[in-house]
């Protein structure tokens, strides 16, 4: 019987760091194949010539059976068509059953290029994965999060992009004996259809990293003003949390879009998510469903978020936040 292979594309950033989603997907892939006999989880790295030892070590920890490295200085700067060609060539050789990309900016650009090259199907931005009888069942929110659809693929490889932060890497990883293969693809400078001229940094607030936070306080349109919204930062500071926002709050100008949570914003997986003045429409909920506990404060007991929370508190967000801050300061 042929080996059942799952390939994870390893995404690296401009500073050669690995995108966490690549580790998450490797761990998930090794979990998905654990009951499949004769299976292999492969990680595919395309990049410049450098020392990959630490990266290989991390992938071993998360369950990679094999790491394939295509290293050439032509890959130093990302160019979609070059990467497409390299990835597609390796996949044609390896013939995996399943291929995962992170649903990042790069992953969502590359995956459809590769899928089209290989003449196969691709499911975008999945939030749940399963393999049943060799078939990848990829579930994703659609219609603005109002509906979840489970999508299958008739052709091989079965491909999916998967949202960052949905799956977590194991806390106690078990190191695998990982094979490392260096491979080579014939690519030329003329195949660089695009080139990066410049990277322009954006203001990044390291103290407010939603992806790693345990407690997140989020405000919505029901915060009423920017001044009220800013009190959330004080609350966060006092309790060691970070602040997020609904699109309603962003649209109203209370908060910056960089902290928007939801389908078109960040996906979070905090231990506690506290929503103030957020109605809880599906596009927002799509970003918070993997939080352990959801608490909401809303003046309307019929707001959808009330039914979607572990605890719903009917009340005025502004007053309650003021009281929380006061109480914390008195302690």
């Amino acid at each position: 019987m042929d080996k059942f292979k799952v390939t994870v594309f390893c995404e690296t950033a401009w500073d050669d760091s690995v995108a966490p989603v690549s580790y998450e997907l490797t761990a998930k892939a090794s979990d998905l194949v654990k009951n499949i006999e004769n299976s292999e989880v492969q990680v595919l790295i395309v990049g410049k010539r450098m020392n990959y030892d630490d990266i290989i070590e991390s992938f071993s920890n998360y369950g990679a059976d094999k790491v394939i490295i295509v290293n050439d200085d032509i890959f130093e700067n990302y160019s979609a068509n070059l990467y497409r060609k390299a990835i597609s060539e390796i996949l044609k050789k390896e013939k995996p059953n399943v291929v995962f990309f992170g649903a990042t900016v790069k992953g969502r650009e590359l995956a459809p290029l590769v899928a089209t090259t290989l003449n196969t199907g691709l499911t975008a931005d999945c939030t749940e994965l399963d393999i049943v009888d060799g078939k990848l069942e990829a579930t994703r929110p659609t219609f603005g999060g109002k509906l979840n659809a489970t999508i299958l693929c008739k052709t091989l490889p079965q491909m999916a992009t998967v949202r960052a932060g949905v799956f977590r890497v194991p806390e106690n990883p078990v190191k695998k004996d990982t094979k490392v293969n260096f491979d080579w693809v014939n690519v030329h400078d003329e195949e660089k259809f695009t080139k990066i001229l410049e990277l322009i940094p954006e203001y990044a607030d390291d103290d407010n990293d939603l992806s790693k936070a345990e407690i997140i306080y989020a405000g919505g349109r029901g915060m009423k003003s920017k001044e009220n919204f800013n009190r959330l930062f004080e609350l966060a500071r006092l309790t060691g949390g970070v602040v997020g926002a609904s699109r309603g709050a962003v649209d109203a100008g209370f908060a910056d879009s960089s902290i928007q949570i939801g389908q078109t914003g960040k996906t979070i997986h905090a231990k506690v998510y506290v929503a103030f003045g957020i109605s809880g429409l599906a596009q927002h909920m799509a970003g918070i469903n993997s939080c352990d506990k959801i608490i909401s404060v809303n003046k309307d007991s019929n707001a959808p978020i009330m039914k979607l929370s572990d605890i719903g508190i009917v009340g005025d967000a502004e007053e309650i936040i003021k009281q929380m801050v006061r109480s914390l300061k008195n302690k």
């Binding site: 969502r108 069942e137 659609t142 999508i151 990044a204």
Partner: protein, 261 residues
Amino acid sequence: MKIIVCVKQVPDTADIKWTENNTLNRDGVESVINPCDLFATETALRIKDRQGADITAISMGPKQAESALREVISMGVDEACLLSDRYFAASDTAATARVLAKAIQEKRSDFDLIICGQYASDGDTAQTGPSLAQNLGISLVTNVKSIEKIENDKIIVFKQEEDFVSRIEAKLPAVICILTGKYLVRMPKISGRMKAQDAKIPIYTAEDINFDAAYSGLKGSPTYVKKAFRPKGRSDGEILYDNSAVQSAELLLDKIKEFKG
């Protein structure tokens, strides 16, 4: 400069409601132009304002999608065509991109630039634009915020990356996928509306574009939906009424501490 804009008509997702038996009620749901595609159209029109361009809008969809095409013509797009055939119905992104690519090769092969919306508000796959670029074998830049300039055989754009912006040069012809932005999308003028009313919008079937219908529709699509279901809520939650702000604040602080563990 010849530009093609890809436009999709979508149900207004804000209008869709749930029925009691967990199905989507689309009654009375209006069809609108996909928001990103409006920005794609605006981007094309700004190129036309600045340096002149012929803009053709193209859409694949049911006959009623013609109204979306008339709308972009009223904004200033020069021509439009609709790809409509029962064999196209229920195509996934891969199949849709094949149809679009074939239509462009047959009817508008002399284009310089194709502008798509980054994603559609109904499916939100963001895959059709990239797949179209690959079918045509040309450059692609996704997540484009704006265009800096177009010269001879290349275009320079600003792309929104994960946490920075990159400036990218792409060889023409190219496909670029545009995000929604903070700039305004123009409203049609009366003269535009009149032009749109009279515009002839050809409808092409699979046969008209020499497309083998076996590669589109449900049968020709590599992916299919096995099941669709309503996202589950939290069943054992509780709702607390009638507390004072002080009580609620204390309760919240207690619960946060408890849940944080």
